[in-house]
Amino acid sequence: VVDISNLSQSKVIDQIQAYSHADCILSVELTGLRSASEYLDLDAIGDVISGSCYAFHLVDRSTTRLDSLTTEQFPEMQVIGQFVRLLKAEIESTSDPDQRRLAEHALQLGVALLQGKEVLR
């Protein structure tokens, strides 16, 4: 399990490579919070790591940092843009902390799911 919060892609690769050797089957789960602007190229990571171990399986369970999720990043005419706007509006309008927390988690989860991360357990 690699917490990729505040880690660049190269650092993520370095951390994974520390566990990698030719005879191992490496199963890696990426967790933590990541900026929406940080694009983590899982294929590139897979390309680099899979050459140094017997087998490699990568699951990205990281979620996007709320403060990095701005409406400007997501076009309004896309589902993800609408999704972010709906939940942002809900987060800003609600005074119930539980409801707010729920909306925040939903926002992170939905964006992560749309970004192709296997965050569902």
């Binding site: 602007s37 589902v79 609408q82």
Partner: protein
């Protein structure tokens, strides 16, 4: 927004490259391997990547280049003017300069500004919308990709290959799994709230039972400790009391022994005293015997001789004394006259008694008195006569004896001399002295013998006085030792106890013994219960921890379920809103583009709520046609039209450059011309970058030829 210039250093196959783009149609031409894809990748990296010196980025370094690459893009927007973004991957620096003097150096700040310029914040969003590649059309052609699905993915705005419906289905499955529960090899510990709640309930019952048993156990343990303490105390008291009684027994034993030894000592002392006395007697008898040695040494013959001699003297002396006296004349004749005198007195007393009692007449009294006088007179006369007759007889015999007496005198003197000589030899003055000394010697001998016997008796067999003395000393030592032992504090303390106190102690001892037996019994029962049915505290703690974990798991699952549900609902809502807002415009634009691409063969395109496309021919009465019924080329045209329309709508107003990666390679000549014609028209409003290896597009606009 358009790209005005691109300059790259040390990127892949380009040690250095500068490309200047025109605002309209740009044809980037070059053979395979000339670097067309590299240019596309450089533009995307310049717009979205964080410049860092990583192994992934290292892969894009030019062969033999000393440093990592630098990418520079000059962007121009009618609204915001000219911008230059520069990313140095060697120094990890990002810069964004604007003509208006606006400068950004922090990566996040640069990216935020770029997002506002481009209208999209992620590489995947950008590439999935404004990039149209030949490979997409080929996938539609050969059925690997469905038009609806592909458009849905792009409308979703997520990563490549992710559409909203798929995400919603995933969420539905996850929600169902969480609600109904599921068991898989991987996720058996997650989900299944019902199972968790059941387990929680069972665990709750178990914890209650464990707590009850544990509470009982704690109580038992406390009781055990309390009883053990009581038992110890009782044992201690019992020991103390037993010791007291033991000491008391010891004292009694000592006292008995002391008494015994004292008695023995006293007896030995007395015996020694008696022995001393006996020894004294023996000694005095021996001394006396020594002084009377001659008498004690007399044998029987000598004694008999002396006795005979003395008897002879005595005989002769007796004969001498009796011869002149007449024996037996002075005794018997006096009894009768005395009797008569006594009788006269009795009669006289009887008469006096009668006279005094007046029981006899005078005659009788006279007769009585006369008789009494007569009796008295007769007795007196008789007595006087007898005396006279005796004196007469003795006078006749005395002269006859005188001669006999002379002879006998000589015999007596001779015998007396012989006796006197013998006695003188013995040391006696006379016969009485002899007799006395002989008796004295016999008495002394007897005394000596008796003293010896007594001494032998006192000493016993084979014992001496010294041995007895030693025994006495031994007895004395023993006595002293016992007395000293009695002076020991504990014995002395016990010795001071009164019988009542001792009795009290004995009673307490008995009571304590009974109590101890009861406590032991209780203790055994508790120990048995503890041993029989032990509750491991660790087990209870584990169960409680597990219960807490379960509660947390349930809460987490329920929370997660709520998050899933909310995400799903919001996604559904977002999708509906998006499609609702997009659909009509998209239909209009797609219809326009498709009509142009097909040279007016198809009138319009219809898009339903599920993003299913249908097309209508130009004739009014023709029914809607499913894309699957269209030819591959027409399907490509439909897809291309829809993509163009989508790019217009998604980036509404911003018009970022449209990247076409040789999309018309499978089109026939007529269709390609129509497509090129459409793209030329589009290039009037937005920049178009066509990447191709063909010379067919040279006439469309600015050609950039790669060597």
């Amino acid at each position: 927004m358009r790209i005005k210039r691109m300059e790259i250093h040390h990127f892949r196959c380009f040690p250095h490259l500068r490309l200047d783009f025109v605002p309209g149609f740009n044809v980037v031409k070059g053979p395979n391997g000339a670097g067309k894809s590299t240019i596309q990748r450089a533009i995307v990296k310049a717009l979205f990547d964080r410049p860092t010196k990583t192994k992934v980025n290292e892969q894009d370094r030019s062969w033999g280049a000393p440093d990592l690459y630098t990418l520079e893009l000059e962007l121009e927007s009618s609204n915001t003017g000219r911008w230059i973004v520069r990313k140095n991957f060697e120094s990890s620096r990002t810069q964004l300069h604007a003509d208006n003097g606006d400068r950004h150096y922090a990566h996040d700040s640069v990216q935020r500004k770029l997002y506002s310029l481009i209208g999209v914040g992620a590489e995947s969003l950008y590439t999935s919308t404004v990039f149209v590649a030949q490979s997409e059309l080929a996938a539609i052609d050969d059925g690997r990709k469905d038009i609806t699905r592909s458009l849905e993915e792009r409308v979703a705005g997520g990563d490549h290959g992710i559409d909203t419906q798929t995400v919603i289905r995933k969420l539905d499955k996850a929600i169902t799994d969480y609600r109904r529960g599921y068991e898989t090899r991987t996720y058996s510990n997650f989900g299944h709230i019902a199972r968790l709640i059941t387990e929680q309930s069972e665990l709750g019952n178990r914890i209650a039972e464990l707590r009850r048993r544990f509470s009982q156990q704690v109580e038992d343990m406390e009781n055990r400790d309390r009883l053990q303490a009581r038992l110890d105390q009782s044992q201690s008291e019992l020991t103390s009391q037993s010791r007291l009684l033991e000491a008391e027994k010891q004292v009694r034993e000592i006292r008995r022994n002391l008494q015994s030894w004292s008695g023995k000592e006293q007896e030995l002392e007395e015996r020694l005293s008696t022995i001393a006395k006996a020894q004294d007697d023996l000694q005095s008898a021996a001394i006396e015997l020594q002084s009377l040695a001659a008498f004690s040494a007399l044998d029987e013959s000598e004694i008999r001789r002396l006795d005979q001699l003395h008897a002879q003297v005595e005989y002769l002396q007796s004969i001498e004394s009796t011869t002149p006296v007449l024996p037996a004349t002075n005794t018997a004749p006096t009894r009768t006259p005395v009797f008569l005198i006594g009788l006269a007195a009795v009669v006289a007393i009887g008469m006096i008694w009668l006279r005094l009692s007046d029981s006899a007449n005078i005659s009788i009294l006279v007769a009585g008195y006369v008789l009494s006088v007569l009796l008295f007179a007769v007795g007196l006369v008789w007595l006087l006569f007898n005396r006279w007759r005796t004196a007469y007889r003795n006078k006749g015999t005395n002269s006859a004896h005188l001669t006999v007496l002379g002879q006998r005198g000589q015999e007596i003197a001779s015998a007396q001399r012989a006796l006197q000589d013998s006695l003188r030899e013995l040391g006696a003055d006379n016969w009485q002295d002899y007799e006395a000394k002989r008796i004295q010697a016999r008495v002394a001998l007897t005394r000596k013998e008796q003293a010896q016997i007594r001494l032998d008796t006192l000493l016993g067999v084979n014992r001496t006085r010294d041995q007895i003395e030693q025994e006495r000393q031994q007895a004395s030592r023993e006595r002293r030792d016992l007395q000293e032992k009695l002076q020991e504090p504990n014995l002395q303390r016990v010795d001071k106890l009164t019988p009542v106190e001792l009795e009290t102690i004995a009673v307490q001892l008995q009571r304590n013994s009974a109590e101890q037996a009861q406590v032991k019994s209780d203790l055994d029962r508790i120990r048995f219960r503890l041993q029989e049915n032990p509750v491991n505290q660790h087990e209870l703690l584990q169960a409680e921890e597990r219960a807490e974990d379960l509660a947390q798991d349930i809460a987490r699952c329920q929370n997660l379920l709520a998050v899933y549900q909310h995400t799903r609902d919001t996604l559904v809502q977002a999708r509906e809103v998006t499609i609702q807002r997009l659909r009509s415009k998209l239909e209009t634009d797609a219809s326009l583009y498709f009509n142009r691409l097909t040279g007016g063969q198809y009138r319009s395109v219809s898009i339903d709520s599920e993003f299913s496309l249908r097309v209508a021919r130009a004739e009014d009465n023709e029914p809607w046609i499913e894309p699957s019924l269209l030819s591959c080329g027409t399907r490509d045209q439909l897809y291309f039209a829809a993509r163009l329309a989508l790019a217009d709508r998604i980036f509404e107003g911003r018009n970022p450059p449209l990247f076409l990666d040789d999309p018309f390679v499978s089109f026939d000549r007529q269709r390609r011309e129509l497509a090129c014609q459409l793209c030329s028209e589009i290039a009037r409003n937005r920049q178009v970058l066509l990447f191709t290896c063909s010379d067919d597009y040279d006439h469309l606009g600015h050609v950039i030829e790669l060597a």
